[in-house]
Amino acid sequence: MTTAPPPRPARTPAQVYRQSLWLLTSRDLKVRYATSFLGYLWSVLDPLVMAIIYWFVFTQVVDRTIGYEPYIVFLLAGLLPWMWFNGAVGDATRAFTKDAKLVRSTRIPRTIWVNRIVLSKGIEFIAALPVIVIFAMIFGAQPTWGVLWLPVAIVLQAILTVGLGLIIAPLVVFFRDLERAVKLVLRFLFYASPIIYGLGDLPHGLDFWASFNPLAGIISLYRASFFPDQLDARAVIIAAIMSLVILAIGILVFRRMVRAVLKEV
């Protein structure tokens, strides 16, 4: 009946990569959106509730001297990217363990196990962007030409997050403690990054050191959409260099460890 294997049109490695990456990413999104009634709303609700809490504390309770008006827009411009970063780095700790069976039985390029997390969280982030637009309209924040920095911010953040994911994902397979350590560091980083405040709100001198946190430069790029003064060239350049260095380290660590990871998963 069956004759020789029908030659399947040869596909380039890039096509194979894309197909597998998209299969896993869309599955992640489907699971999150299709299985719950509120679906999409959940990815908006989370940053929204946080933003409202901080807005309430800093505008209604405490006499605030940080950030810009309207504060809720200022806050969301930092919180939404943070949710992407936090979610992707947090999930990267389980990149290999969560789908161990698939990792063990397929030969797709292994970086996909990390990149699919960054991509699916990134899509959720972009899907949540309309929230800022709505609040900007309600509170009358004017978009500026700084909005052109948005793609740069997204690319930089993707580079940074992929780099960190490539470092963390394989290491967690061997050092289980790292999973909790990462959670702790993330909590610290939330307050150490200019999310509820701006880089300029820091005491003089401290802002220099704070700009070595790549998130500082990246968030200043996001905020430039509404608050052009927030754009801090020094912080952005440092963020770009740091992100690329972290990505390079990530690729190195990942290459070194992938053999051992495949034996261990």
């Binding site: 294997p5 399947r8 299969l23 069976k101 039985s105 797709i108 061997f174 460890m257 992938v258």
Partner: protein, 254 residues
């Protein structure tokens, strides 16, 4: 035979840790691979060289834990050798995990699309073959059932059905057929015969002498991680039986 070489295993070796507690240190990570200290490791395979030509059917023989499955995993590309090289030309359909690597929480249908897709089958082709795969696995009434609720027989049926339909030139089968019931096993055998007749290359791990003789022409005998003999399947089985008595037919399942 002048068929082209599809699998070339050159001096391949892979080592594993003996115990789970053997921690790797950060120092290990950055030290050169030669200088690393690895007290608790053993070579699951070492100095194994094999060349396989298109259309060959190869049976892998050896006692448990001698490296048979590891060799298949290297050929499947799901593990990477620490030494030497494994080159595979053409796609591989690997049936090496008894469960086929399906995800517990997804339904049969979702698993089928995910796994076939990750093995490189374009969506359009999966659509075309979907009915055939489900019917072969006899899971028509269970397409919406989460994978974890299937019986172990059903799981194997699904795995074999999907993997054998990937239409890849190389098929790897690792003892999974021992699990299904007889009726399904016969179906699988018929399917393997069909694939072999169609010019596929087969890599077959089994403890069942009858099966090995039925499908394979060439045998590889692995012992303690080394390739002891590479020859016609009859000679290989004789050598194995000589070394370990005639126990091969009685131990069907691992």
């Amino acid at each position: 035979m002048t068929a082209e070489t599809v699998i070339r295993v050159a001096d391949a070796g892979i080592r594993f840790r003996r115990n789970r507690r053997g921690r790797r240190s950060f120092k290990d990570l950055f030290a050169g691979s030669k200088r690393r200290s690895r007290p608790n490791e053993f070579w699951a395979l070492r100095n194994v060289s094999v060349e396989v030509r298109a259309g060959e059917a190869i049976g892998v023989v050896g006692r448990n834990g001698q490296g048979k499955s590891t060799l298949l995993k290297l050929v499947a590309g799901v593990m990477l050798p620490d030494e030497g090289a494994v080159e595979v030309h053409g796609g591989v359909a690997p049936l090496i995990e008894i469960t086929g690597g399906f995800v517990d929480d997804l339904t049969v249908r979702e698993n089928l699309y995910l796994t076939a897709g990750l093995h490189g089958m374009p969506k359009r082709e999966i659509d075309e073959r979907y009915d055939e795969i489900i019917d072969f696995a006899e899971l028509r009434d269970f397409v919406g059932t989460p994978y974890k609720h299937l019986s172990s027989g059903m799981k194997v049926r699904l795995a074999f059905s999907v993997i054998s339909r990937l239409e890849e030139p190389i098929l790897l089968v690792d003892e999974v057929l021992a699990v299904g019931d007889k009726a399904f096993r016969d179906k699988c055998y018929a399917r393997i015969d069909q694939l072999l007749a169609g010019g596929r290359t087969l890599f077959f791990v089994s403890h069942n002498e009858r099966d090995l003789k039925r499908f394979c022409t060439r045998g590889l005998y692995l012992d303690k991680g080394a390739l002891v003999l590479d020859g016609p399947i009859g000679d290989v089985l004789d050598a194995y039986n000589r070394d370990y008595g005639a126990g091969i037919t009685s131990t069907i399942v691992d």
